[in-house]
């Protein structure tokens, strides 16, 4: 890539970042102003300055929490990604299975995670297993659905081509349907990446060890109990950062995977 192309791409990226940043700054300013004007009480709504101060003061705690929660979320995401793609592939392969199982899979998505989280503890025990399982459960459905969608949209002509070439079912899946579905799968994975952090935290609410190194969920629970609302906000922001990083990683991987697609489609 030439230097001018690189710098113009950088400029485009920066330009794209301006509107969301502006909105963000405006929101934070409005928040601060609202706290100054209405004085709701720190216990109800801390100001962004207080939150920032708390985040800085508790940076070691929050960094450890982010790391632990990030690991759980990433683990759950990885499990969900594999399971979702495989399950989606199986459903896509059989009209019968799809008719029978897809509605059930949809129902599973409706089950409130908070209700089954305590059961996860009983099944998986305390510690990372529960938060990983919880993260996997919330993020599996978008992967499954996007895989199914992508595969069902496989070009009929290519399916026919594979038929004339006497491809086996597994070959057709691995060499045609799976790569064909990748743009759709990447979309599902990006949704799943964000959800996995929420899932991990919900799991931590019931099933994590509360010690010197506590994950985000435990930090939030403790802060709530101690009325440290500003730490609650700081922890929630930490969770958002973890989610954003995961989302970014998945998007970057997706971009690499899709480069070939973009090159050929675009």
């Amino acid at each position: 890539m030439s230097r001018t192309a690189a710098s113009s791409r950088l400029r485009t990226a920066l330009a794209a970042a301006v509107p969301p940043c502006a909105v963000l700054v405006a929101c934070v300013c409005a928040w601060q102003a609202a706290v100054w004007v209405f004085r709701p009480g720190e216990y109800l709504l801390p100001s962004p300055i207080q939150v920032a101060q708390e985040a800085w003061d508790s940076r070691a705690t929050l960094a450890r929490a982010a790391w632990l929660t990030g690991l759980s979320a990433a683990g759950g995401f990885a499990i969900a990604a594999c399971t979702g793609v495989l399950a989606g592939s199986v459903l896509a392969a059989s009209r019968f299975l799809m008719r029978g199982l897809y509605p059930i899979a949809t129902l599973l998505q409706m089950v409130p995670l908070v209700a089954i989280a305590p059961l996860l503890v009983v099944w998986c025990g305390y510690g990372w297993r529960t938060s990983v399982a919880s993260a996997a459960i919330v993020s599996v459905f978008p992967v499954l659905a996007s895989t199914l969608d992508g595969m069902r949209g496989t070009d009929r002509g290519l399916v026919e081509l594979f038929g004339t070439l006497r491809a086996g079912r597994v070959q057709r899946w691995w060499k045609l349907e799976l790569p064909w579905a990748i743009p759709s799968i990447v979309t599902g994975l990006r949704v799943a990446a964000g959800l996995s952090v929420i899932g991990a935290i919900v799991g931590e609410f019931v099933g994590a060890f509360a010690g010197n190194a506590s994950p985000v969920g435990i930090v939030i629970l403790s802060a709530l109990r101690e009325h440290r609302t500003e730490l609650v906000f700081a922890a929630v922001l930490t969770a958002a950062v973890v989610g954003f990083v995961l989302f970014g990683l998945v998007s970057a991987l997706g971009w690499v995977a899709l480069r070939r697609w973009h090159a050929s489609v675009g």
């Binding site: 009983v122 305390y126 919900v202 109990r225 009325h227």
Partner: protein, 347 residues
């Protein structure tokens, strides 16, 4: 948040707790601030026809209706609140109900909060005032199975047992400070009693008068270590109001507390008379279990020798001790400048 000091439901109540942040948001937005007065005459008490209009007030519980609130329901059932000119709407809560914030912000006139929460919230600008301490001695405890090897909290804390304790509870900090180098593994209480029953956790925070009773009734014998005996004895179940409400309507507060005190006197004397009505409001607990719980909690509410007019009374020294302990634990930065602002014993 006004976490109850045990957060133990059979299963799954944790959702409410986890969603407390949402509840907090609703207070901030004022969405939950339905200022409609409580419906008059909604209680069981017959109101004399010539009585003046009752003043509607709300009392937010932080748990399901249980014997720990027995005196409140007794006062309601016997028309004591009505006689005091109040129509009290008792609102059941759960582990996630942010009663401290609701009370401090005036969304409800009265709320059940932990004594420590009065102090932590005050430091964050929520001016709560304790009016009535239901338990003179903290009912908090840690239960283990009867055949567990630990003889004391110190034993337990030195073990590598998994202990379900409410996350962020000052008492955990207290024990960690008292028994340094703890190996015990602390986990949240969100699974209710299931994890304890399954043996996944070996020790569980409880109210001495409640969960152990449930376990015994299920045929699981347990032993309980009292936290009060361990040196940390806050007013665990405190009826509180906001400083603003108290300043505005001291007389209503006093009338409310007097009715409450009489209600408790009656409940302590004859819990069986009131438990069936409470059990109707809480299908999760049988009347029999409530009777046992009421018997177990009697001396915690009113230790032997407590005068009829002393139930619920708070001691200045106890609040001071709590403030000092919380400060030492780092839960609050400084003790309140004037400890008498923190509580008010109605005459």
């Amino acid at each position: 948040m006004t976490w109850h000091h045990r957060a133990v439901r059979p299963l799954g109540i944790f959702g409410a707790r986890a969603l407390a942040a949402a509840a907090l948001a609703s207070i901030v937005c004022g969405c939950g601030d339905g200022r409609a007065p409580a419906k008059p005459g909604s209680g069981a008490a017959p109101v004399p026809p010539e009585a003046p209009a009752l003043r509607p007030v709300r009392l937010q519980l932080n748990w399901m209706p249980e014997p720990e609130f027995g005196g409140i329901y007794a006062a309601k059932q016997d028309g004591l609140f009505a006689r005091a000119g109040l129509d009290v709407e008792i609102i059941a809560g759960s582990a996630g109900t942010p009663t401290a914030q609701m009370t401090a912000s005036g969304q409800v006139e009265f709320g059940i909060v932990g004594g420590d929460q009065v102090l932590t919230l005050r430091e964050k600008g929520g001016d709560l005032v304790g009016l009535f301490a239901i338990f003179h001695t903290s009912p908090m405890g840690v239960m283990v199975r009867a055949d567990a090897p630990w003889k004391s909290l110190q034993d337990l804390w030195a073990s590598d047992a998994t202990v379900a304790m409410e996350t962020g509870l000052p008492f955990v900090r207290y024990l960690n400070q008292k028994y340094p180098g703890a190996r015990v593994k602390l986990v949240p209480t969100g699974t209710g009693l299931a994890a304890f029953e399954q043996g996944i956790v070996q020790a569980q925070q409880c109210f001495i008068s409640a969960e152990p009773v449930q376990m015994e009734l299920k045929g699981i014998p347990v032993r309980v270590f009292s936290l009060a005996d361990g040196g940390y004895d806050p007013y665990t179940v405190t009826v509180a109001t906001s400083a603003a409400f108290l300043a505005k309507d001291r007389e209503a507060c006093a009338a409310f507390v007097r009715a409450l005190r009489e209600g408790w006197r009656r409940y302590l004397a004859e819990p069986a008379k009131y438990n069936p009505a409470i059990a109707k409001l809480n299908p999760g607990m049988t009347v029999a279990a409530m009777d046992v719980a009421a018997a177990k909690q009697h001396d915690l509410v009113a230790p032997p020798g407590t005068g009829a007019n002393e139930v619920g009374m708070m001691e200045r020294a106890r609040w001071q001790t709590l403030a000092r302990q919380l400060q030492e634990l780092g839960t609050i930065k400084a003790a309140p400048a004037v400890i008498d602002d923190v509580f008010w014993n109605a005459p």
